[in-house]
Symmetry: C2
Subunit: 577 residues, 2 copies
C-alpha cells in the first residue's frame, strides 16, 4: 500500500524536469484596501495619490519561487498595493541547482534579490523576509514571522490584511515517511541544499585521504547513493561523476578507484517521463561511466552509514554502505499548506485544488500557483446537461449544426481535454466526433451528445510540479490582475455553461516547451514539443544557450556564463568553504 | 593592568596591515626517516627509489595559511617526504577578506585548494585535512584529528612521525578576555567569518524592513559597531559604508537614514601604524562619510544588544545599542600553541619564540613561522665579549681597524639592529660608531667597544603578525630546506661568535614592501618603503593591480578581477545565501 503510493507520487513528480521543481516558496496576497472598487488606474493613480491609495486593493504574495517571482515580474498595474512575503529574499534559478552541487556554477550566480526584481518592475511592491505560518481566510489576514527562532521578543510576528491572496509557497521534498531519510539524507531543492552537498562531497574525499583510514572505510566514505532516477537525480549523478573524474581525480589520485556512484530508482527505468530513446541512451551512458543504476529498487530505510532497499521483483532486501545519500524522489505539501487545506475543506488532497483560473476552490479571493497547487479541471460529463441546454438555443431538445457551432469554441476552451482527445483519436474537429456531416439538417439529441463525449474526460491530466508550469501560472495570474477592471466590464473567457454570461478571463492553459536531461560529459538529452528528440554534445550547447537566456537578469546571465567559461579553463574548485 | 596589556597588544597588532594577518593555520613538520643522512638528491633520488625512500627525511607542516603555503610553494627539493596537516584544505588570500564581507569579491575567488598548489610544486607533498591537537617533541610525533566532532569511532585520529616539524598554525582573534565578545561579536579572520558577516548584514536589513518593527528598533538593528581601528577594522567599516550607500540604499530606500556605523578605537588615532597624513585623511574621510569614529574608547563588555565602552580620558562608561559588533583588535596564541609552549619551557610568552633562523628555541628540528611565532633576536650586548674576542684575532685585548673589518659584515648580518641604529643616527658605517678614523693605528678596547654599541639593542623590533612576514618566512625556510645539504658543507651564514665556524644559513631578514589601507569610495591610502605616501583614487588602482598580481593562482586572479568588474557593472549582491 505504501509502496503503491510511493510509485504513484514518484512517477508524478519524475514525469517532469525535476530541477525545474521550485525551491522557493512564494505566496502573494492581494488584499483590498477595504472593499472599494478599482477606480483609478495607471497614471491617474499618481495624480490623486491620497484618494487613490485608499482605493488600492491589497495583494499579498507568499513565496519568491518560480510562480511568485513570475507574478511579480509580470505585474504592470499600479492599482494594487503588493506585499511579498517569503523566507528567502531572493529568487533562485533552480534548474541549475545540480550544477551548484559540484561547483560547475556558483550558488550566487543563480540567485537574484527579489527587491531587485520588484524594483525593476516599476510597480509598488513591498517585500518582507518572513515565513507565513497561518492563513485566516475568514478575516482575510496572513500571519507571518520574521525570525523562526523567535529571538526578537514578539516583534518578529506581524499580520497582513489582504483583498487578494496569492499562495505560491511551493512544496517540500517528499520522504514518503521512509525511516531515516529526514535525518541522514541530503535533499536538492534549495540553494542551501546544493551548498551542503558541495561541502560534503569534498569533506568525504578529505576524510578518505586521512592516513589512518583503512581501505574498506575509504570505499564506504566514497560510496555516493542517489535515490530517484528523475531528471534531478540523474543530473546530480552525472555532475558528480564529472566532478570526480575531471577534477577530484587529479587532486586525490589514489582515491579514484574507491569512488562508487549508485542510482536507485523504484520504477523500471530512469527518466521514465522521457522518450524511450532518451532513457536507453542515459542508461547505456551511465553503465559505461560506471554509475551503478539499480532499477526497481525501493528504499526502505536510511541509516547514518547504510541504505537498505528492496528489490521490487525478487522482494530481496539489500544494504549499501554509503558516505552520502541524496534524496530526490519528488515533492509533497508543506505543513502550512496542509493546515490551510484543512481550513478550506480539502484535507484529503495532496495539493491545494484550484479552478482553471487558479482560484482556490471554495474561495473567490485566494489564488494558488506552482508546486503547492493543482488545477482541478472540470469534467465535461459533470456539465453535459448544462452544455447541451446552453447550446440548444431554441429549446427543441435537439442540436443542429448551427447551434452547435455557436458553442464549440467555448467548449474547447472550457474543457481542454476535448481537444487532447480529438488529437489523440486523429479527429479533425469536434463536429467529426458528433458525426455532424456537411448537411445542416442533421441533429443530435442529449443522449447521442453524451455518448459522443463520454470518453473525453479520460484525457484530463494534472500538470507536473515544474518551474515551467509555475512560471506560466505566475505570468498568467499577473496578466489577469493587470486587466481585472477591463475584463470585469468586457469578459473574454468562455461561456458560463452553468451560469449566465461569460467568465472574466480565459482559463489558464499550459504550454509545454520541452525538457532537458543533462547526462554529464558535455552531453544532454532533450525532448522538445512535437516529440522531437535530441541527444548529445550539440544538445548540451542548446541547453547552455536556453538556460542562459532564461536566467532572470543580465547579472545572473553574465555570472553563469562566466562560471561555465571558468569551469572549462580552470575546472571546478574543491576548497571546502 | 588589563588595559595596558590591551593597548600593548592592540598596538602591536595594528601596526600592520591587519587584513594581512593570517587566517589559516599551517604547521609543517619535516621528520626524518630514521636519522639517516641526506645523501640522495634531485634526480638521483628517482633512480634508486626504494633506497632513496628510506633516506628521505620526513617534514610535517602544520597549517595552510600564508607561512605554510608559501613554504609549500617554494619547496623544490625532492629529498623530503612532506606532509601538510591543516583543518582547511585551501589557502585563503586574507587581505581580501574585508571585501568578501560585503560581496565586493566572492569568497571562492580568494581561495585555492592546497592540493592544487602542492600538485603544481612538483615535489612529493601529501595533505591531510585535520587539526593537530598535540605535538610530542620528545618522540618526534604530531597527533592529529580529522573530525573535530569525533564521529568516526576513533579512526579519525592519527599520528605522524617527523624529522622536521614546521609549525605555521597562525593565531586566533584576541578578545583580551572582554566579557561577551566570544559569544556576541563577529570576527574577521577566516573565510567563514567573512561569509557570516555578509549574511548577517543582509539579515539585519531584512529584519529592519519588517512592518511590525518600530523605528527605535530599526535603528538598533542597523547600528553596526566595529571594534579596532587597525587596517582590517577600517577597511571593513569602509566596505560596509559603500555597500550600504551604493547598493542597499537602492533596495531598502526607507532604511538608509537609520544606518549608523561606529568605529571604536582604544588608541588616539585609527590606523596608528601609518603615517600621520594617512591617519588624518582617513579620519576626515570617515567623518564626511558619517562613520562615527570614537577614539580612546575601550570596550569593557559586549552583550547581545549593547556594547559598553569606557572613555580613556574621562573614564565615563557609555553604551551603544547594536545589531552587530565586528571585533578586530589583533591576535593571540592558539590553545595548541600555548600547550606546546609549556612543553618547551616558554609558558610566559605570547608567541612561540624562535631564533633568527626560525627554529623554535631549545629545539633543533622544529621551526615556527607566521603569526604563531616571534623571532627572539639575539642582543649585541649579550654577546659583546664573544664578539670582541672573536674579532681580536691576535688576542691583544685591542681591536685594530683590520681586525675590525674582518668581522664587521658578520656583526651586521647577525645583529640587524646595528644597521637600523646606524641609519637612525645617520652614521655611514659601524666604523664611524666606533670612532675608527682612517688611520690604521687606532685601536679599541673592550670597554670602548661595549660603550659604543651599548644602545644598538634599543632598535630591536618584533615583526608584525602580517601576511607579508609570514609569506617571506615560508619562502625563506623552504629555501633553507632546499639547500640544506649544500649549506651543511659550505655554510653561508655569519660567524658563530659564541662557537666555531659559521652558521649554515643567512638569518631570516624581513623586507617591508609597504602596506595599504583601503578607505572606501574607490580611495586607498598606501605607505610604501622610503616613507612614500600615496592616497586617493589612483592608489586604489595601485591596490587593485598589486592585489591581483599577488593572488595565488591564475584562477583566483581571473575570478577576483571579474568580481571587481561585476561589482562595477551590477553592484554587490544582497541575496541572503
Amino acid at each position: 500500500m505504501r509502496w503503491s503510493s510511493f510509485y504513484h507520487r514518484a512517477s508524478r513528480v519524475f514525469n517532469e524536469y525535476p530541477s525545474f521543481s521550485k525551491s522557493v516558496i512564494v505566496c502573494t496576497v492581494i488584499s483590498s484596501g477595504g472593499g472599494l472598487g478599482l477606480v483609478a488606474y495607471g497614471d491617474a493613480v499618481q495624480s490623486s495619490s491620497d484618494n487613490a491609495k485608499e482605493r488600492k486593493k491589497k495583494v499579498v504574495i507568499l513565496g519568491t519561487g518560480w510562480a511568485g517571482t513570475s507574478f511579480i515580474k509580470s505585474m504592470k498595474s499600479t492599482s494594487y498595493d503588493i506585499h511579498v512575503v517569503s523566507p528567502r529574499n531572493y529568487f533562485a534559478f533552480t534548474p541549475l541547482l545540480p550544477s551548484v552541487t559540484c561547483g560547475t556554477v556558483e550558488a550566487r550566480s543563480i540567485v537574484e534579490p527579489i527587491r531587485n526584481i520588484s524594483r525593476k518592475s516599476g510597480v509598488n511592491i513591498e517585500f518582507s523576509e518572513a515565513e507565513c505560518y497561518k492563513i485566516d481566510p475568514k478575516n482575510r489576514k496572513v500571519y507571518c514571522r520574521a525570525d523562526p527562532e523567535k529571538k526578537m521578543g514578539g516583534i518578529e510576528d506581524f499580520s497582513l490584511d489582504y483583498d487578494y491572496l496569492v499562495i505560491a509557497m511551493g512544496a517540500k521534498s517528499n520522504t514518503f515517511n521512509t525511516p531515516g531519510v529526514q535525518e541522514h539524507a541530503f535533499f536538492l531543492k534549495e540553494v542551501d541544499d546544493a551548498l551542503r552537498i558541495r561541502q560534503k562531497v569534498v569533506d568525504l574525499f578529505e576524510k578518505a585521504s586521512i592516513p589512518s583510514i583503512p581501505v574498506e572505510e575509504k570505499k564506504k566514505l566514497l560510496s555516493f547513493v542517489i535515490v530517484g532516477g528523475g531528471p534531478t537525480g540523474v543530473e546530480f549523478a552525472a555532475e558528480l561523476h564529472d566532478f570526480v573524474h575531471e577534477d577530484l581525480s587529479k587532486l586525490y589520485p589514489s582515491l579514484k578507484s574507491y569512488v562508487k556512484i549508485t542510482l536507485l530508482e523504484a520504477g523500471d527505468h530512469i527518466l521514465n517521463m522521457f522518450d524511450k530513446r532518451i532513457t536507453e541512451f542515459a542508461e547505456t551512458k551511465f553503465k559505461r561511466d560506471g554509475i551503478d543504476v539499480k532499477l526497481g529498487s525501493m528504499v526502505i530505510k536510511v541509516s547514518e552509514r547504510e541504505i537498505s532497499a528492496k528489490d521490487r521483483v525478487t522482494g530481496k532486501v539489500g544494504s549499501i554502505p554509503h558516505g552520502m545519500v541524496v534524496w530526490s524522489t519528488g515533492v509533497g505539501p508543506r505543513p502550512e499548506i496542509v493546515e490551510f487545506m484543512k481550513q478550506v475543506g480539502q484535507s484529503n488532497r495532496r495539493a491545494l485544488a484550484t479552478d482553471e483560473w487558479l482560484r482556490v476552490e471554495g474561495s473567490d479571493n485566494i489564488y494558488a500557483l506552482g508546486d503547492c497547487a493543482t488545477i482541478n479541471q472540470r469534467k465535461v460529463m459533470e456539465d453535459i446537461a448544462s452544455i447541451f441546454s446552453k447550446a440548444d438555443k431554441n429549446n427543441t431538445g435537439k442540436l443542429d449544426v448551427k447551434e452547435f457551432h455557436g458553442v464549440v469554441d467555448d467548449i474547447i476552451e472550457r474543457y481542454p481535454q476535448v481537444e487532447i482527445y480529438l488529437k489523440k483519436n486523429q479527429m479533425k474537429d469536434i463536429a467529426t466526433l458528433l458525426k455532424f456531416s456537411q448537411e445542416s439538417s442533421v441533429t443530435v439529441d442529449i443522449e447521442s451528445f453524451k455518448s459522443a463525449l463520454s470518453n473525453v474526460d479520460t484525457q484530463m491530466k494534472n500538470l507536473p510540479p515544474t518551474a515551467q508550469v509555475a512560471a506560466q501560472q505566475g505570468a498568467y495570474l499577473a496578466d489577469c490582475f493587470n486587466r481585472m477592471e477591463t475584463c470585469e466590464q468586457y469578459p473574454e473567457g468562455p461561456l458560463r455553461f452553468r451560469g449566465t454570461g461569460r467568465h472574466r478571463f480565459h482559463p489558464f492553459r499550459y504550454k509545454h516547451f520541452g525538457q532537458f536531461a543533462p547526462l554529464g560529459g558535455e552531453q544532454t538529452a532533450a525532448q522538445l514539443p512535437g516529440d522531437w528528440i535530441s541527444i548529445g554534445h550539440s544538445t548540451q550547447w542548446l541547453w547552455y544557450s536556453i538556460y542562459a537566456s532564461k536566467l532572470v537578469s543580465w547579472r545572473t546571465r553574465a555570472l553563469v556564463v562566466s562560471d561555465w567559461g571558468r569551469r572549462f579553463v580552470f575546472g571546478r574548485d574543491s576548497s571546502r568553504i
